[in-house]
Symmetry: C2
Subunit: 356 residues, 2 copies
């Protein structure tokens, strides 16, 4: 039995302060993957760095090398705590970047790794994180080919941050992109939603949920490869549903493609995640996943795509959650249990900061 006071206090701890986007400085919400992040990029980064590769704001860039295109993607990991049920920051650092490369339609091959270590970080923790990176890299078929370690004084970092940058190779004719969604496309998700975010939340706040929730951190490379082989160019968009969850991934696609997304309301949310979200006042559509992607595919290949995904353990519970529509362009709309609809907008700031 959870009292209201516990619920309030938990919420106060986990929620960010109300964002004040014009305060003249960086706020936690700028790291959310939501509206504040988008505005930070649009106002400060793109005007300075903008070029044809960066402007797409995809999960990475496709750049020419010796007449062929390769994919480059980068991600910095700042998750707190460093270790959580189901994994640690080392798993995320490999899976996160490998997955971003895969979302561009490429097979990841090389990783770089750049560490910021805080003075006083125990070698036992560091070793477990490096073990996780080594295991995950081997499982994903990537090699860590170059790296860097920096150390900052005690109190100037939070244990360990790590950046990984991935390079991957493309196959002919397979170029999913956020702006390729078309009305009629089926919107698939490859697994149950919300596990990573709620596992982090439980670890961070010392909350005990009725059922243990583990992070879903996993490589999506085999799922992308399965889709490529099974339905090829029938795959229009791929996006891993990390920061900002499925809601943000679909909003970005809807905006990039100039289409609407209609969700059926029948979402694969595990009971334990649903209960935990209810307790904390969170919406599972916005909770981060680290082993789930959304895939928008032509309706005629939907059955083959689902079969291909379900043949792999990580995609065993792949399912359709909605359709692309020509109406309400740039918006995601959810049919509610009562037969109404509600707009699933991007959040301004963070539900859960420091999630990856």
């Amino acid at each position: 039995m959870i009292t209201t006071s516990l619920r309030r206090s938990a919420l106060q701890q986990v929620a960010c302060p109300t964002p004040a986007p014009d305060s003249g400085c960086v706020q936690l919400g700028h790291g959310s993957g939501g509206k504040m992040s988008a505005r930070l990029l649009r106002e400060r980064f793109l005007p300075r760095f903008g070029n044809k590769y960066l402007d797409g704001l995809g999960d990475g860039a496709r750049v020419p090398v010796e007449g062929v295109e390769v994919v480059v993607s980068t991600d910095t990991f700042v998750v707190s705590p460093l270790e959580f049920p189901g994994g640690n920051i080392g798993h995320l650092a490999v899976h996160g970047t490998v997955n971003d490369v895969a979302m561009m339609g490429a097979v990841p091959k090389y990783l770089s790794a750049g560490f910021v270590l805080e003075e006083g970080l125990g070698f036992d923790v560091l070793d477990r994180i490096l073990d996780a990176m080594a295991e995950a890299s081997a499982a994903c078929g990537v090699e860590i080919v170059t790296g860097d370690t920096k150390v900052v004084d005690r109190g100037k970092a939070d244990g360990l941050f790590v950046n990984t940058t991935g390079v991957g190779f493309l196959s002919d004719g397979f170029r999913p992109a956020p702006d390729l969604a078309r009305p009629g496309d089926s919107v698939l998700v490859t697994g149950p939603l919300g596990r990573h975010g709620m596992a982090i939340m439980a670890a961070r706040e010392g909350l005990a949920f009725e059922a243990d929730i583990e992070s879903d951190t996993a490589s999506l490379v085999p799922l992308v490869e399965a889709l490529r082989v099974a339905v090829g160019a029938g795959v229009h968009c791929l996006r891993d549903a990390t920061r900002g969850g499925v809601a943000s991934a679909l909003n970005e696609i809807a905006q990039a493609s100039g289409v609407g997304v209609a969700l059926s309301g029948d979402l694969p949310v595990p009971t334990a995640v649903e209960a935990a979200c209810e307790m904390l006042g969170l919406d599972p559509l916005y909770v981060a996943n680290e082993g789930v992607m959304v895939a928008l595919v032509s309706p005629e290949v939907e059955a083959d795509a689902l079969a291909a995904l379900r043949a792999h353990p990580v995609g065993a519970s792949a399912t359709r959650i909605g359709h692309v529509v020509a109406e309400h362009q740039g918006m995601v709309v959810l049919r509610t249990g009562l037969g109404g609809t509600r707009v699933v907008d991007m959040l301004p700031g963070d539900q859960l900061p420091r999630i990856c």
Copy 2:
């Protein structure tokens, strides 16, 4: 006039605690680029990640893409303070990685950029850093093609950290490497030593030296290209003399190649740097540079190499500082003013932490 007590207090502030390498946790010295860094890599990272690309511990990796080799290099920047005479962390983030790619013999082409922003970082500071990155990228002929921004709560970082990863293209027959030094090679440096480290130190400690010292942060790409065109495979080893300075760069080369290095003692140290080093008890051979490289070249191409370097402003004061010898393998030895010699070993830990 500087009193002894001021000198002691400045030294106590800037020097790291005596390293205790077996304390079971990360210490500042592990980020030095010296012996503790090497041990951390050898004991914790290489056994887990080791592969033919990483094991060379070069400034980057040469990896095959579609039958050709490309260079990938990564560097994370944690310099404190973020802004200093002559530049800011944005200049370092571009020049540092671009230079590492160049040290592998490649022309850098693409950069990724991964930011850790601390809540509360002023947009004015962020804007100046992004401006510097944009300017430096344009000047170096590289494009920032993909990126990531994360935000951590106040007190959990130190303003801003940034990782850049670079991809560069190689030319036929130009593959300098740390293990290619041969007895007889001329040891060249491309500019005056110690400016970056002392500029940081002055900014950090609020020290006023008699003459202003500015960081030498600069792209080394034109110098490498000039050497390639002028003397090609006559260039055996290139290394930018950053963390750990010229001493560490040459020790790494001596060990990788199984040769000795004999320095003449006639080192290009600006008077202001020499005075500042003397005041703080530092040795300019170990002080970081961000726009100086050591180049080991065949003796028969020395004159052409120096001419090529001096034709460019960044290399205008390029000079020979010593030779590679068959004796004292793996060691660097300096001829002193009194006619004796002293061993220039790698330092165990840091002279100057958080330098880049």
